[in-house]
């Protein structure tokens, strides 16, 4: 059944788009180096990992959950694959990627079981796991780092390689976003995710396998985090136990910025992509316009708050508008 887009949704995305355009123009005026091919390439590559993870986070948030452990999963998956490459240089990059995804999947499954089967609240399960996974990363690596010279060129090429000038991470991110778009909008299980988040009780009663969907969602999230971990480590050519510390907040912020409602059950992929890009722009543009590093954090926070508030105002206005015209 095809979903009809309501006016409010289109407005929401439009608001974000306008925001992005305004910021781009402002930054470009301050520093013409912003809208160059090379800088945009950097921007997109840096945002690729964020994008991959926000896809997973969107699914989790759709089901009224949250995942604070993604940073730790990235660290563990990246560390494990880096350690393997260190010991077995000849390993193909594809195997490394699969290995990282496997680690992430295991973590995701465990978290999913805690939440789906044992009814542990998502914030608690993922908070606890965040600690456990970080500790494990340290234990597995015995505190050591894996550095560039210990990684094979093939492994490092996961992040630096590319096709026709577009780097591999961007391609991976695009593919995942497209796959996700299709899944969430045109496949039965994908639609059921919305239902579970929208009204879990009704979903249960209608025969939607709520627990299985929740388990699936966290598993996918874990796999994506594992993938992100391998790319991260390849990109920076370094694996350490404090990799991606605090990254989970960026992912959540980018997802929510994209209009995904924390209360579950609503959000669009287009919004997600815009939110992620806006976040990436903020991280990229602020150093370029010579904003004092001490202002960067405050500005980021204000932009997030403003974007979210604008979303709300737009939604309210469009609802009022819709009511007046009696559109459903």
């Amino acid at each position: 059944m095809k979903r009809t887009a309501t006016a409010s949704e289109s407005f929401r995305e439009l608001g974000l788009l306008v925001f992005i355009v305004i910021i781009c123009v402002a930054v470009q005026l301050r520093n013409p180096a912003f809208l160059t091919l090379s800088n945009i390439g950097d921007l997109l590559t840096n945002t690729a990992i964020l994008s991959i993870l926000s896809v997973g986070m969107m699914m989790v948030i759709l089901t009224r959950g949250i995942d604070l452990s993604v940073g730790a999963t990235i660290a563990l998956a990246g560390m494990v694959s880096a350690l393997t490459v260190n010991s077995f240089r000849a390993i193909s990059p594809l195997v490394s990627v699969l290995e990282g995804m496997a680690v992430g999947t295991v973590a995701g499954v465990l978290i999913g079981i805690l939440i789906a089967r044992f009814n542990v609240l998502p914030i608690i399960a993922t908070l606890g796991f965040m600690n456990v996974l970080r500790g494990l990363t340290y234990v597995v690596s015995k505190g050591a780092w894996v550095s560039a010279y210990q990684m094979s060129d093939g492994f490092k090429g996961i992040a630096t390689g590319g096709v026709a000038g577009i780097s591999t991470p961007i391609i991976i991110a695009v593919v995942i976003n497209l796959a996700f778009f299709y899944f969430i909008n045109h496949m039965k299980t994908g639609r059921q995710i919305y239902a579970v988040g929208s009204n879990p009780e009704a979903a249960d009663i209608s025969g939607i396998p709520r627990r299985r969907i929740i388990l699936l969602v966290y598993t996918i999230q874990g796999a994506l985090a594992g993938l992100g971990g391998v790319i991260w480590v390849a990109k920076f050519a370094s694996a350490q136990s404090d990799t991606a510390m605090g990254f989970e907040l960026s992912v959540i912020a980018a997802t929510v910025l994209g209009g995904v409602s924390i209360a579950g059950g609503s959000g669009k992929v287009s919004g997600l992509i815009l939110g992620t890009i806006l976040f990436g722009i903020l991280n990229n543009a602020l150093p370029l316009i010579n904003v004092s590093p001490f202002w960067q954090q405050a500005i980021q926070g204000v932009v997030i708050l403003a974007a979210v508030l604008v979303n709300v105002m737009v939604k309210r206005n469009s609802q009022r508008f819709a009511l007046r015209r009696r559109a459903i």
Partner: protein
């Protein structure tokens, strides 16, 4: 009682269950102490029990209002940033000439205002959940602290100020006395006043409370204001402990405070909990960290232990609670952000 008490058919057993969780915590506390003393001969000294709390009690001030916030069914992750900002403003104003006692009051005032802003944003924009509002303010408040103090530290406070965090009164640390007073006040507030009743009611069912005439907005704003005020206390004691402050102090406090509240048996689904649990949890985690540190356990292993402890305790809570959850699936699936009312309109 505000809890969904099925007194008619289960009655006594539910209340016994509540008592059980706190008794369990007491037992864990005793076990922790026994194990600590076995592991290290340095543990069982008067110094341990009197001066160690000084190390972890600054966070404890936040546990009290956070309990209320979680009972409301919401969450506040901006508390650490509020503490940092108020500390920075206090230091800067002291060095600008303000007498120290006034600077300390300013610290409390700033923190309270931060909490007020949170409360107003959450109640004015009901579409926004507490998670996203406090996420944004968390970043903004600390960002402002960085703008004010950049990379500098600010200290050199009058010597009497250090007594707050390091001093004792008749052998009992000042911070312990202050905390005990606040704990009593919050306990009474939560369990013996109509305000407390309203907090439980809102946590149970926001819409029903509103329609029953409870001024939900006022209650929510008050709770967040109290959270801000307590963050100010945290910042006062933390700054005294360190003798100076920077914009990056108190990092990670929000998550460890939430962990203590949850370990204390307060359900993140909202609507129930007692102040006793989190109080015990503070001391359990504090002494566990200290005791294990005395035998020089590595920080990472400690992380794993605390993480597992958290998950284990919630698992146990949930296994006990299984019936309740099945009876109210929407409540169980409610996100900690706590807006999720089952009847709320949701446009996909």
């Amino acid at each position: 009682m505000a809890e969904r008490s099925i007194r008619v058919d289960k009655g006594w057993s539910w209340r016994s269950f509540f008592l059980q969780w706190e008794w369990l915590l007491v037992l864990i506390f005793i076990v922790v102490n026994i194990v600590n003393s076995t592991l290290s001969p340095y543990y069982l000294t008067a110094d341990t029990f009197l001066s160690t709390p000084q190390t972890f009690l600054d966070q404890a001030f936040l546990v009290l209002p956070m309990t209320m916030v979680i009972i409301l069914g919401m969450i506040d992750i901006s508390v650490a940033s509020t503490a940092a900002l108020s500390a920075v403003i206090m230091a800067v104003s002291f060095h600008a000439g303000l007498p120290m006692p006034l600077a300390a009051l300013l610290c409390l005032a700033v923190a309270t205002v931060c909490g007020l802003i949170n409360g107003i944003l959450i109640t004015r924009f009901k579409e926004l959940s507490a998670v996203i509002v406090t996420l944004a303010t968390m970043i903004i408040y600390r960002g402002i602290a960085y703008v004010i103090l950049t990379d500098q530290a600010s200290g050199d406070f009058p010597s009497w100020y250090a007594a707050l965090g390091w001093g004792s009164v008749g052998g009992v640390p000042i911070i312990l006395v202050a905390f005990a007073a606040c704990a009593v006040i919050f306990g009474l507030l939560l369990h013996s006043t109509s305000f407390g009743r309203r907090v439980f009611a809102i946590g149970n069912n926001l819409t029903a409370s509103r329609y029953s005439g409870v001024k939900t907005d006022a209650v929510i704003v008050t709770v967040f204001v109290l959270t801000g005020l307590m963050a100010g206390f945290t910042s006062l004691f933390l700054t005294s402990r360190m003798g100076s402050t920077r914009p990056n102090v108190a990092q990670g406090y929000e998550l460890s405070v939430i962990a203590m509240v949850v370990l204390g048996g307060v359900s993140t689904a909202g609507g129930k909990g007692r102040i006793g649990g989190p109080l015990l949890a503070i001391f359990i985690i504090g002494f566990l960290n200290y005791g294990l540190g005395l035998v020089n356990i590595q920080a990472q292993s400690l992380l794993i232990i605390v993480g597992l402890l958290l998950i284990l305790s919630v698992l146990v809570l949930n296994v006990r609670f299984r019936n309740r959850h099945q009876r109210s699936v929407p409540a169980a699936a409610k996100m900690v952000a706590g807006e999720g009312q089952p009847n709320e309109d949701r446009n996909p």
